[in-house]
Symmetry: C2
């Protein structure tokens, strides 16, 4: 935070005119990040037909890409909102992001609402791309000589997972 003040060219006391404490500042960073995350996901599926395999695959790519592009914010989004989970704004914003996937899955199955079936198919997909994102930004694939992970393995796994997750 001190570094941020230095970069901004203000004293370290300045931000306390706008936020109660450090946590609130980080929360604002997280909220702004969630908005960018939402936009990234929305843009990703736009070019593809609603609920198509292409649209859902594009969401997965956009998810991992965002994590790779903003690893700090990505980590913060999930680590900080752990404690901020009761915060109404955070919950709504988070649900809005996850909703992008839910709606595509619902469309895929031709369901009008986010019912249990949709939830059950969407959650494993989220879990998969979320885990992949963390393993990539934590550089586990490099460390364990899984250079193959970035490409063929992931592509195959995704196809397999989508095949079953989206089967009727």
């Amino acid at each position: 935070m001190s570094d941020a003040c230095r970069v901004a060219g203000v004293s370290t006391a300045a931000p306390y005119r706008h936020f109660a404490d450090r946590e609130e500042m980080l929360l604002e960073v997280v909220l702004a990040g969630m908005d960018r995350f939402y936009e990234a996901l929305e843009s990703a599926h736009q070019p593809h037909p609603r609920g198509s395999l292409a649209a859902i695959t594009a969401l997965g790519h956009a998810y991992v890409d965002f994590a790779a592009r903003e690893p700090g914010v990505f980590r913060l989004m999930f680590g900080l909102t752990q404690r901020q989970g009761q915060n109404e704004v955070v919950r709504d914003r988070g649900m809005r992001v996850y909703g992008v996937l839910l709606h595509q899955i619902a469309a895929h199955f031709g369901h009008a609402s986010i019912d249990d079936h949709v939830q059950e198919r969407a959650f494993p997909l989220w879990t998969f791309v979320h885990g992949l994102s963390f393993l990539l930004i934590d550089e586990k694939t490099d460390q364990l000589n899984l250079e193959v992970a970035r490409t063929q393995v992931v592509a195959d796994a995704t196809r397999r997972l989508l095949g079953t997750a989206l089967a009727p």
Copy 2:
């Protein structure tokens, strides 16, 4: 770290007799955690036949259970070793942990070594349980009213994923 010294009943300068800096102290915590993680995974598959579906499923459960039992260490293990990734000891210890899964997968397919096919089947499973672990300890399932996530959804998703990931 100051709290730890207070709990230990020593001055904050004491640990610097044993470690170069804070990072080295945390690294030791991580290494000890990785050992417990390894033991947990080993114990989990022991009761089941090598390479059986039961053994592999037990590994997944043990993985998520460890994350839930020691969320701080779990987060640290992956967050800290990101920077410590070039550390030889960390890499070996990490490979030892992941090796538990690799060997079970190899046994499942009757392969004598950890070949590309084994890697390709193991990695998606890791990704899945890893993502699930983070979503659970970050309480995302609670926050988004995914109370169903803990039980039925996860069970179904796991079955589906295992079905394809372990298919010949």
